[in-house]
């Protein structure tokens, strides 16, 4: 069940894992997510599908080791099995009829942005990509993005690779250079998506964002993932995770994402100590 067929570190904290899951691979589309549990008593972790192979019957996830849950997941190696994996959940990213799109990815969000770029490229759309990272060591999927993009801007906060600066600056420049996008698709930290939306709103470019709030079941049952979109309450798990970025209440989403910050810090510490013990 759910055997890990490959695992590779993309940078010191970001890992790509491919899992045998034929039923999910058969239905998965870019933009959808899966929920997994590493072990018998683990949290349910929602992770966006980074790739899938219908013939091999596998799905790929890319995760950043940030909390106790991802630390535990990262103790599993090739040949081990996940305890649970369910999906594909959520609504696939809408790609029909898009002729020219700018994909904006930030950090590990690039892992989710890439399959969308790849699909659009495959459908014959003109894809521009703007991907941003804190520094050179954290860059992922550079070559992959290059292959599917006719224009690409790689930005780092410190200028250690690509151009120095934020993705918003690069995006704004592309728009000012006269690129008329049917849509901008932005996937990354909430703050990044918020500021991308501020830029695109100024130019009246439709913008889709992929939201990744706290959730439990992923099927509409808990309501923990609720967001305010255009004044209405929406559940990211069943109504999204993609939403019209110009309608999302980002400040509320940012506040809600910090709901368990204290608990998480504590859990991270506890599991670090556990791992230390195992090493000893």
């Amino acid at each position: 069940m759910f055997e890990i067929v490959s695992k590779k570190a993309l940078n010191p904290t970001v890992v790509r894992m491919t899992i045998h899951a034929p039923l999910i691979a058969r239905k998965a589309e870019p933009g959808q997510f899966v929920i997994l549990r590493a072990g018998e008593n683990s949290e349910r972790l929602p992770l966006t599908v980074a790739d899938f192979d219908r013939e091999a019957g596998s799905v790929t996830i890319i995760y950043q080791i940030v909390g106790a849950g991802t630390m535990e997941l990262n103790t599993l190696e090739q040949g081990d099995c996940l305890h649970d994996l369910v999906g594909p959940l959520g609504v696939a990213t809408h790609t029909d009829g898009l002729k020219k799109v700018c994909i904006v990815g930030g950090g590990v969000g690039c892992a989710i942005a890439y399959p969308v770029a790849k699909k659009l490229h495959g459908l014959g759309a003109e894809v521009h990509s703007v991907i941003g990272f804190r520094n050179r060591d954290l860059v992922i999927l550079e070559d992959d993005f290059r292959k599917v993009s006719s224009e690409m801007r790689l930005m780092t906060d410190d200028g250690s690779h690509g151009e120095k600066g934020l993705v918003t600056a690069a995006l704004e420049k592309l728009i000012q250079e006269g690129n008329q996008y049917d849509e901008v698709i932005a996937i990354g930290p909430l703050v990044m998506m918020k500021f991308v939306c501020q830029v695109t709103k100024k130019y009246g470019v439709k913008t889709v964002v992929s939201m990744n709030p706290i959730m439990v079941d992923g099927t509409g049952m808990c309501g923990g993932c609720r967001l305010t979109v255009g004044g209405e309450t929406k559940f990211a798990c069943v109504d999204g995770p993609d939403f019209d970025g110009h309608l999302v209440d980002f400040d509320e989403a940012i506040a809600r994402s910090g709901m368990y910050r204290e608990f998480e810090a504590h859990a991270r510490e506890a599991s670090c100590n556990l791992l230390k013990k195992e090493v000893e």
Partner: protein, 462 residues
């Protein structure tokens, strides 16, 4: 000679001030002696009014007579002819409005403790039975059941007993539906749910968790896979909110989320990896059984003050009387005739209070209950840091959105032709909360049972 004591044999229970600090079961169960004593209160009426009020038609006097004769395994055999989940029913059925509500002994005293006896027999069987359940001979027909909650499990159990090859698809990582994620450990221990489900597996029922019908597979995929009929028992899992300002503040939960974190994800265990807010003062909005469960969980999670905020009066609370009494004993404070109008937050976006208005009751509305009306100038702020919304749930849209030709009503409930549960699609049956909207475990079980009979007829006629 029957036992003519007008009162039920009392149920041994944990003391309220002890139990509101732990998640162990509240009611401890009868001893054999107590059970026999209680069973002797049954008059074994010829016309069996109790049976007519049971959604799954348990032959109540017959099983109670076996208890009186101290033949507990015989009593279990009678029960298991009608119910696949007796240990569950004995604990969570609203007996006072069903079997016990019709009991002749209830006219001049207390009814026979039918629920308590059912629980005793199921528990006795679980602890003493040695005979292995045998898998019935296969009849070669395949049926799929969607949802491993009370209706789905009942339907699957009944079909398996008839020799069908039954597979149950469950979206969560554990079977049981509301029995696992919703009803707390202290009312229904999860080890009991697991053992009842294990009993179904021994009957040959195959349970596949982590499969969301409507996502991983569709109804049409299931027919392509060779299933001849389907039963949809996907429940009513979508939580409702009040749509008042502040509902997105940190510290506002749906009862579903709160209970799921505690029960399914085990946030109550000391080393749990599941985050949950450490609350001091909690307002639970709503007056049903789920609201009582959420309030009693909050107390056990360490909250000092827990309020039930309900817009009608004590008389109108939809929860079972027993649940209300248990909650009161455990120190839950009832703020009835009170309705929230805004959730207040602090500078960090955490809940800091709930602005409420007082209500009074007017003329009866369409539901027959007196309509609550806002009292003028009655606004006040309830000082809480957590708010749990328990004002009902609706059916999940995942199946209706992916199943062409499946008729649903404006509430999103699946429309069925009659008690058999046949939907607008041939070979597709449905029952439980997915059809009725949020109701009880036993009504869902009754629907699963009727559908199993109808599916058997359908396949045999084909």
């Amino acid at each position: 000679m029957p036992n003519m004591d007008p009162k039920k044999t009392p149920m041994p229970s944990q003391e309220p001030c002890i139990r509101n600090g732990n998640f162990k079961e509240v009611a401890l169960g009868y001893t054999a002696e107590m059970a026999v004593n209680e069973a002797k209160r049954c008059l074994n009426c010829k016309n069996k009014p109790c049976v007519s009020a049971c959604p799954v038609c348990v032959d109540i006097p017959a099983f109670i007579q076996q208890v009186a004769l101290e033949n507990f395994e015989g009593a279990y055999e009678v029960l298991s002819r009608s119910t696949s989940l007796p240990a569950v029913c004995g604990r969570v059925c609203p007996q006072e409005s069903q079997c016990e509500g019709k009991c002749v002994r209830g006219i001049k005293g207390e009814s026979v403790g039918i629920g308590r006896l059912e629980r005793f027999v199921a528990d006795w069987h679980r602890e003493h039975a040695t005979a292995e359940v045998t898998k019935p001979e296969s009849n070669g027909h395949k049926v799929a059941v969607i949802g491993a909650g009370p209706s789905g499990l009942t339907c699957a159990g009944d079909l398996a007993k008839l020799g069908y090859d039954v597979t149950v698809y469950e979206a969560l990582h554990v079977a049981g539906g509301v029995l696992s994620y919703g009803i707390p450990e202290f009312r229904l221990p999860k080890s009991i749910v697991a053992q009842e489900i294990d009993g179904l597996r021994k009957l040959g029922v195959n349970i596949e968790c982590n499969i969301v019908i409507g996502k991983t597979l569709t109804v049409d995929d299931l027919f392509d896979m060779g299933y001849e009929a389907l039963f949809i028992g996907s429940g009513a899992g979508l939580p409702r909110f009040m749509n008042i300002p502040g509902e997105s503040l940190k510290g506002v939960y749906s009862a579903n989320e709160y209970l799921t974190r505690i029960n399914l994800m085990k946030a109550y265990l000391p080393n749990s990896t599941t985050p949950i807010k450490k609350s001091e003062k909690v307002a639970v909005v709503g007056g049903g059984n789920v609201a009582m469960d959420a309030a009693r969980c909050a107390k056990r999670m360490g909250a000092k003050e827990v309020y039930i905020v309900y817009r009608r009066g004590m008389q109108e609370l939809p929860a079972r009387l027993e649940e209300v009494e248990h909650a009161q004993e455990e120190g839950i404070i009832f703020k009835t005739l009170c309705n929230p109008i805004e959730v207040l937050g602090d500078e960090n976006g955490n809940v800091s209070g709930v602005r409420c208005v007082e209500m009074e009751l007017g003329e009866p509305d369409a539901s027959g209950r007196r309509r609550p009306i806002v009292k003028e100038n009655s606004e006040f702020v309830l000082d809480v840091d957590t708010m749990i919304m328990s004002i009902g749930t609706s059916p999940n849209p995942l199946i209706r959105n992916t199943t062409p030709g499946l008729e649903t009503n404006r509430h999103g409930c699946i429309v069925v032709q009659n008690d058999d549960g046949l939907t607008s699609r041939e070979g597709v049956y449905a029952g439980g909360d997915a059809v009725t909207g949020a109701a009880t475990v036993i009504l869902a079980m009754g629907a699963g049972k009727n559908a199993a009979k109808a599916i058997d007829n359908y396949i045999q006629r084909k």
